[in-house]
Amino acid sequence: MEVKRVLIIDDEESIQTVVRFGISMAAGWDVLTASSGPQGIDTAQSELIDVILLDVMMPEMDGIATFHALKTYPKTEEIPVIFLTAKAQTSEKNHFNDLGVSGVITKPFNSLDLPSQISKILHWELQS
């Protein structure tokens, strides 16, 4: 399985760090980071990205607004988006699904488990 390129958009720097460490250690994938929605959109447009992990709760431009923005650009509209959320409600999950997101991963999570969770959501063949 080729090396995936993951973009994590989260205003929390420690989250960016543990996600980058966990994913690269567990699966050896490349992890790009962004601290805000606009920054993430820029990165997504300039880089080749396989999946975006998007934090829902962010100041100024939140995850839902960022998701809608990403869908407006031809370069980013096809990139699968997985929400990272502290809200674990079934109804909320359904709501996110209705928006067209690929999946939801609930905080707190173990970043070492992320490659397997992402692969399961996106139906990737994960090399063990």
Binding site: I15, V18, G22, M25, K87, F109, L112
Partner: protein, 715 residues
């Protein structure tokens, strides 16, 4: 025998007979006293009209002595002169003339002249008409007086309604008019005895008024006779003709009764009724009795008639008096009845006034209480108009209750607010008790959260007349709830994000790929890692419980196959069971349930997790499912899930408490097992939201069974 046929005894001159016979002399002796004692005045005339002889009555009539009269011409004493010329065709001559007495007294007389009673002797008989006229006048006067009396008594009877007065007047007047010694009214009583109830008696004779007479005096058969109208007039009680028994004669003697007149006073028992076929039946009421005490008396017919007529009038008076008495009795009874009605009416009025006063007082108290309450209290009629409002309305809306009363709800609260109220208002007017929450705007423009309860008011026919509305301000509570929700939401996000970092960082460290830790360092890292995981569970559980309790979470119920959920839960717990060396034996069945799959799986994993935690190594945890009749109603069914372990068991007195939050059977145990103390509380909330029940059974040292039910899905 007439005088005209008799030879005149004292006649001295006999021209046609030379020798008076001895027989004639005897006749004269016989006739002389009779002539003298005759009531009529008799005179004998010679053909010249001189008086030859007069009797005593004639002397009395002429007011002169025999001597003065004899041998005088009759014409001297009479006017006009009497023509005594003999007429062959007439044996006797009748006429009237006036006798002139001394002192100018004149007497009008009727005469009869008979010629030649003896040859040359004429007989004149005089009858004093003056006396007879006086007698006739007296008789007339009497008669008139009687008529007057009768009409007077009748009038009194007719006019007076006082029977006693009538009876008294009757006896007095009868006694006066009959000039009798005693008149009384004797009343016959029902038992046959009787007594005089009214009497008028001369002072010389004993009064018998009020004396009671035994029945023997006036036996039944006599009563019957009188009732048939018998009248008794006894001229002389001592006379054998009277037919009175000796004892009775003796009896009446004590009252000096010599003669008596008795007429019945009858009473008609059956007053004439148009529809009645019965003939009137008379009953003897009493007797009207006149007594003569001075001596025997022959009662004249008119006296009898008078008595009878008066007795009839008395009968009428009695009937009238009885009618009056009946009327008076009726009036008295009716008066008493009216008085009683009046009294009860008065009592009713008093009661009502008291009740009204009590009602006013109670209303006043109610008003005081309702006005003192910070809650809005109102009564709304079936037209959705306010009929009562307490003072709180004034405080909230700045409108006086009197201004609000009669207004429609929409008018008071505005259209937008009314739209939120309308379904509940309509439900209340359909007879349902409704409780709901609403946001209302008060007079200063601020919004208040309110809890509203409508209680329908039903009349006796169970028709809804309106409803009582209780509205309490829950703004403070709502604010606190919001703060709590916000706090938990913040905690949710703000705790989870750093937890994610810590959790991931520790896991990464534990891989050893960033450098190898000493054994002690490794141990510290594990402690940090375990407790981070525990903190994550705690945060999740606190959030779950809060959301379910607040009602924020609604179960997303759909039809699911119970077997799928059981397998899902078992698979999730398999790793933990493996670590503990515990076997999970699940017996899934394809049963459709109506549930939120995630929450049922959460419940099952929770129960399995507990069972594994408290199982010994090599223990078996069993998960089963079955459909059974509900304990309350055997005709209905429910789905029963059971998780059994072979652990140490739970003391019976703690079986219910374990479902309370943060309750653990053994606190030292919980630390070892890494529980949060919220798992079973969450399970109970989830099952309650599914209208099921959850409970635990346990045998110490043998194990526990956790069971919950869900309603079956009706296919």
């Amino acid at each position: 025998m007439t005088l005209a046929q008799l030879p005149y005894p004292s006649l001295q001159i006999q021209k046609n007979s030379s020798t008076p016979s001895r027989q004639q002399s005897t006749k004269k002796q016989l006739l002389q006293p009779m002539l003298e004692k005759a009531g009529d005045a008799i005179a004998v005339l010679d053909p010249s009209g001189n008086l030859l002889e007069v009797n005593a009555a004639a002397c009395h009539l002429f007011g002169r002595s025999r001597r003065t009269l004899v041998n005088k011409s009759l014409s001297t004493f009479i006017k006009p002169a009497l023509d005594i010329t003999f007429d062959v065709n007439q044996a006797s001559l009748n006429g009237q003339l006036t006798v002139v007495c001394p002192k100018g007294i004149e007497r009008h007389v009727e005469y009869t002249l008979t010629h030649n009673v003896y040859p040359q002797v004429h007989l004149v008989i005089f009858r004093d008409l003056t006396q007879r006229q006086a007698q006739a006048e007296e008789a007339l006067r009497w008669q008139r007086q009687r008529v007057e009396l009768f009409s007077e008594v009748t009038l009194k009877i007719r006019q007076s309604l006082q029977l006693k007065e009538i009876l008294r007047a009757t006896v007095t007047e009868v006694q006066r008019i009959l000039r009798t010694d005693r008149v009384l009214i004797y009343q016959v009583l029902a038992d046959g005895t009787g007594k005089p109830i009214s009497e008028s008696v001369l002072p010389a004779y004993p009064a018998i008024l009020g004396m009671e007479f035994p029945e023997e005096v006036f036996p039944k058969d006599y009563q019957t006779l009188y009732a048939q109208g018998r009248v008794r007039a006894i001229a002389d009680v001592h006379s054998p003709n009277a037919g009175l028994a000796d004892c009775l004669v003796e009896f009446v003697k004590q009252f000096d009764i010599q003669s008596k007149l008795i007429v019945p006073i009858l009473q008609n028992l059956n007053p004439p009724q148009p529809l009645s076929q019965d003939s009137p039946q008379n009953q003897l009421w009493g007797l009207l009795i006149a007594h003569q005490c001075s001596g025997p008396r022959t009662w004249a017919d008119f006296e009898l008639e008078l008595m009878q007529q008066l007795a009839d009038q008395i009968s009428i008076a009695i009937a009238q008096a009885q009618l009056l008495e009946t009327l008076e009795e009726r009036v008295a009874a009716r008066t008493a009845q009216l008085q009683q009605m009046n009294d009860s009416l008065q009592q009713e009025i008093n009661d009502r006034m008291q009740a009204e006063a009590a009602l006013r007082q109670s209303e006043e108290q109610l008003r005081l209480i309702t006005n003192a309450l910070p809650v809005l209290i109102a009564y709304v009629d079936h037209q959705q108009k306010y009929r009562f409002n307490n003072k709180a309305y004034e405080d909230w809306l700045n409108q006086r209750p009197t201004d609000i009363q009669g207004s429609h709800i929409q008018q008071v609260w505005g259209e937008a607010c009314y739209l939120r109220m309308q379904p509940s208002v309509e439900a209340a007017l359909n007879g349902a008790v409704v409780t709901y929450e609403n946001e209302v705007m008060v007079h200063d423009g601020s919004t208040r959260s309110v809890n509203v309860t409508y209680i329908p008011h039903l009349d006796e026919q169970q028709t809804v007349q309106g409803f009582f509305a209780l509205t309490s301000d829950i703004s403070d509570r709502k604010a606190i709830e919001r703060m709590k929700d916000e706090f938990i939401a913040v905690v949710s996000h703000e705790l989870r994000t750093p937890l994610t970092s810590m959790h991931s960082a520790l896991k990464i460290l534990a891989t050893g790929r960033l450098g190898t830790l000493s054994v002690d360092g490794q141990q510290m890292l594990e402690i940090a890692d375990d407790n981070t995981e525990r903190l994550v569970r705690l945060v999740n559980n606190v959030l779950d419980l809060q959301r379910i309790e607040s009602g924020e979470v609604t179960m997303d119920k759909q039809a699911h196959n119970a077997a799928d959920l059981m397998i899902q839960a078992m698979e999730a717990m398999q790793p933990m069971a493996g670590q503990q060396g515990v076997t999970i034996s699940a017996y899934p069945k394809d049963i459709l349930i109506w549930a939120d799959a995630d929450y049922i799986v959460q419940t099952l994993t929770n129960l399995l997790s507990n069972a594994i935690k408290f199982s010994l190594t090599d223990g078996v945890v069993t998960l089963t499912i079955e459909v059974r009749p509900t304990p309350e109603d055997k005709t209905k069914e429910e789905v029963l899930f059971q998780v059994c372990d072979q652990g140490q068991g739970i003391p019976a007195d703690r079986l219910e408490n374990i479902f309370q939050r943060f309750y653990q059977v053994d606190s030292s145990d919980s630390r070892k097992k890494g529980g949060t103390g919220l798992g079973l509380a969450i399970c109970r909330k989830i099952i309650e939201q599914h209208e099921g029940t959850i409970w635990a059974q346990s045998t110490l040292g043998a194990g526990s069974i956790f069971s919950f039910t869900l309603p079956t899905l009706k296919r």
